[in-house]
Amino acid sequence: MTAVTDSPLTLRQVEEFLYREARYADEHDYDAWEALWTDDALYWVPAGDATSDPATSMSIIHDNRNRISTRLNQLRTGKRYSQSPPSNLRRILSNIEILGVAGGDTEVGANFVLVESTSRGMETWAGRTTYRLRVVDGEVRLAYKKVLLVNRDQPIRTMAFLI
């Protein structure tokens, strides 16, 4: 990874992208959210030990681009009952930092707090997200999103929305 100053993106551009991605997820705008991803995308929510190998250990989510599509298509049926009706969501992103550049992708870290409301109550989710952003044809795109929940080593509630 090279120095932060080598990033093709300014911190302001990064923030604008992350806020937009968060808004699409909060508002269940599946088409807009899906369009952010690159073809080699990875959407990963580890469970338990954050250093474990996702090929040999269980994760909460470990979606390549195909499985992101499957997940969104299931939501689009309206019969994904764990999100039908959808949760009411709002998340706050903070501590946004450009961590470096690797292979042309800008690696970004941020913390989040997300409040979910459903008919059975309110749930608070929090954690640390690592993003890899790539400029493709002049547009910022998302190549990688890894979400480390603070309570990933504990029993957690259903999380069928986009975290």
Partner: protein, 426 residues
Amino acid sequence: MTTTVPDSARATSRPDYAALIEPSRVHGSLYTDPRVFADELERIWYRSWVFVGHESEVPESGDYVRKSIGPQDIIMTRGRDGDVHLVFNRCAHRGNLVCEDARGNANAFRCPYHGWTYRNTGELLGYPYNKGYGGKGNLDLSLGRVPRVDSYRGFVFASLAEDGPTLAEHLGAAAGEIDRLARLSPEGRIDLGAGWLQHRTRANWKLLAENETDGYHPQFVHSSIFSVTGSPIGPLYSDNSTAVTRDLGNGHSENDLRPEFRRHGETLRWFGTSESRVPNYVARMREAYGEAAEDILVEGAPHVMIFPNLFIAEIQVFVIQPLSVDECVQHSTAVQLGGAEELNSRMVSQSIGSVGPAGMLLADDTEMYERNQRGLEMRQPEWLDIRRGMHREALDEDGYRTGAATDETGIRGFWTHYRRLMEVDT
């Protein structure tokens, strides 16, 4: 006046299970009454055989992992003797937890409160400033030990009763289903070391246990994922399916999918793949099992609920952990098979997609459990109907009650055994 509790008082302190469990219906209070849950702890969870963990989770001497029996915090350890031990996570001095880490390797546990140490088999090794107790080795204390621990093909079970049926007697026909799973390994070896997802669920544990072999719900609850993936699972649980639901006795039940897979006669169809994708695995299976390999590869993995808390769902294993009358945790992991590397990574990947809090199958089952629990709080009608398929059940050649793929035969078997355990006087 006598000192005996009158019948009327007893009736208010303990539910009358014979009156709440009928052959074709069960009463809603069984899922919502905290007294029922308290009885279940004493009569089922702290007495009957309960699945705790798998030997592959503690492969080396000194390995330990924290497990549970219902709300009880249990440490599963591998002793220097090579055996697996189960001890309660509670210091004999003041009752503190002696182990806070989820897993690790240690030959002794040291209570952080006053420094008492215990061997990983439970034996008290020492206590600081021992003159306060008149010297070393003066205390006849230890960690609580689970009275009966036994395992079958590495699946470790516990019974908190000093005596009762043996594990082999409890498992009965369900042992053959674990055998079927092990036979899918060319080495006959199951490994459950891929880590557990933990899914907190606002529902009574019995809703989960009943659902595991309910072949009626998949076409409805899971239609969203079946429709977008073109999954062949749906037809296995339809009116036209030749699969059967079987009451295996002792509360165990299965969806036996073999008739469908035999009808197609394709190896690895059960896993949604073909021989060309996993050639080394297929070669090793033929080497290990000879001609028998064809049937094993066609028939696939079992779908069996082992009373009260172990569910083997083909390539996943679930453990149901009750916490209270309306709260439980589902633990789930991918089956890993010794000598089947080509399958193992696929099983992890498929399991991540299907199970756990974000799983494309289990999140929706869990949504049903939670809505079901809420629905059961309604006052009318008071009963749940479990009669589906009663008129078309038959005994198979081994004497097990068998119904159609979508019938509630397994659910009725669960309640028959449940009632037997709950009516026993303590």
